[in-house]
Point group: C2
Chain length 163, copies 2
Amino acid sequence: MEATRWLDEHQDRAWRGYRRMRRLLDLELARELTQDASLSEPDYDVLSDLSETPQGRLRLSELADRMLWSRSRLSHHLTRMQQRGLVTREECPDDARGAMVVLTPAGRDAIEAAAPGHVTAVRQHFLDLLTPAEVEALGAFTHRVVDHLAQNRAPRPRRGREG
Amino acid sequence: MEATRWLDEHQDRAWRGYRRMRRLLDLELARELTQDASLSEPDYDVLSDLSETPQGRLRLSELADRMLWSRSRLSHHLTRMQQRGLVTREECPDDARGAMVVLTPAGRDAIEAAAPGHVTAVRQHFLDLLTPAEVEALGAFTHRVVDHLAQNRAPRPRRGREG
DNA sequence: CTACGGTCGATGACATGTCAACGAATCCGC
DNA sequence: GCGGATTCGTTGACATGTCATCGACCGTAG
């Protein structure tokens, strides 16, 4: 039973700041998105990921993996977005089990209308408040942490790995 | 209609890294908390804030403000935690409208049992992966962003401000 | 081909968070 | 003290996310 190493003054300040910033930033970005574009953050993320693909379409499981969502969550959310006319489902030609999510024209309009304001808000409330060195540091350590966390997670070996 | 200033390469990398790190870190921390202590992150936060007060008790609205939660959310959540025996409600002596949230012995046991593992996880998956300079930078810019965002938010002037 | 284990996406039950509305109590100018 | 505006916490309806399970389909060994 090792003695717990608590956070020192600097770490504690960083950790509390991080959590508080997250919460406030989420609230503000969500508020502006809802008000200006009638989209939630999850809506925006779905549309954004779809719009970054050449065809505006993705396999459902592929989108779920990119977003780090469960398939169930994505399926439910798409049902709601479909009812609002932002996306549709199509059959998957390769795999009869599968489904494709497709951006509708209305969906593309929505993300194109929302994006400028959202990016501006991200700048205004976050990135533009950081020095270039801080932005660089943020990019560096977040990717380092992501790589570390990704290792612990569901490897997807089609074939056996070590051994 | 100004032309939108999109994110440059560095900002884009930082912003994507930030969002991905958040998601992965949340998943991992929540997973460990649930497994090791049968607590959700919101549970932990409530217990943590309460345990940091001298009496283990807080006015409900005070706790909601600290956590940046709506009163409604807190009230619902406390009802659930109360059913599990982690907290209780008491009448507020000063204000007959109000209520106090009080940590029960079981609640204190729960947070004290959960804290070492949680702090260790925060170190292991996050803070210990940062250099001291990065921790310092994180503390600096998060607090800067928080201050900025706090200005836009619900000022609580008992008396009129400008004008 | 057939059987079997795994993947895919959907679904229903349930947990959690949001929003608007409410009754009770307080504040405050009169 | 009176009375209207405001604050407090709760509540119910609804939106969203999680979890276990399902039928359909795929890949492959036999």
